[in-house]
């Protein structure tokens, strides 16, 4: 009965590859997010979708492309991976866009070699 789930939990890949991280929430929430936790441990928002519509798009390289096939899913596709993409990526959801509390997935640790 996991509320927000992500796959895979760990991802190790070579520079230049393309990879995807999947996120699903079973809370019935309208809004989903992707965060990146960098080497300095800050959690920074990357994207947010509300009812499958992109509403937040921070300054992120266009190698990163989110896709929301439906309200319960928000996937993150990364093209031409670089060393600096190594981080922990967290998916989150909230009931609505202006709801204060966000619920986070367990994170995906991406390592680019």
């Amino acid at each position: 009965d996991t509320a927000v789930s992500q796959t895979p939990k760990y991802l190790v890949t070579q520079m230049g590859n393309d990879k995807s991280i999947k996120c699903e929430q079973n809370l019935g929430h309208d809004t989903m997010y992707w965060y990146k936790q960098d080497s300095k441990k800050f959690l920074k928002i990357m994207f947010s979708y509300n009812n499958k519509e992109l509403i937040i798009n921070e300054t992120v390289p266009n190698r990163f492309s989110p896709k929301s096939p439906d309200k319960a899913h928000l996937n993150l596709h990364i093209n031409s991976l670089e060393l600096g993409d190594s981080a922990v990526y967290f998916c989150a959801s909230s009931q609505q866009f202006d709801t204060d509390t966000q619920y986070f997935g367990p994170g995906t640790r991406l390592t680019v070699l």
Binding site: V4, K9, Y35, K40, K41, F42, L43, K44, I45, S48, I55, I56, F90, A92, F97, D98, D100, T101, Q102, Y103, F104, G105, P106, G107
Partner: protein, 116 residues
């Protein structure tokens, strides 16, 4: 430009004593503040929050204090328990609109260790 900062990377406390975690912010437009707790290999979970119209919010052993003039908030845990050992993240948002509307801005976290 980090708008939310937690300047203590770690804090070690004896069981039963008070834990005080601190957070500073620079954006005066932030009007809602949250604390999240994170265990290893898990995502952050919501702990407690406070609106800028208040200066204190209490929930059981957890109390958050907000000093708007100093742009500072703190989380007090009394009494501290070994199960409280985790990373604590402070976060801020702007509820009322503008470019930051809806976004959570996080600090870098403080590792709390509570010793038995």
């Amino acid at each position: 430009d980090q708008q939310v900062k937690q300047n203590s990377p770690s804090l070690s406390v004896q069981e039963g004593r008070i834990s005080i975690l601190n957070c500073d912010y620079t954006n005066s437009m932030f009007d809602y503040f949250l604390w999240y707790k994170k265990y290893p290999a898990e995502g952050p979970t919501f702990l407690i929050s406070i609106s800028s119209i208040k200066d204190k919010n209490e929930d059981g052993r957890f109390t958050v204090f907000l000093n708007k003039s100093a742009k500072h908030l703190s989380l007090h845990i009394v009494p501290s328990q070994p199960g409280d050992s985790a990373v604590y993240f402070c976060a801020a948002k702007r509820r009322a609109g503008g470019t930051s509307y809806g976004k959570l801005t996080f600090g870098q976290g403080t590792i709390l260790t509570v010793h038995p």
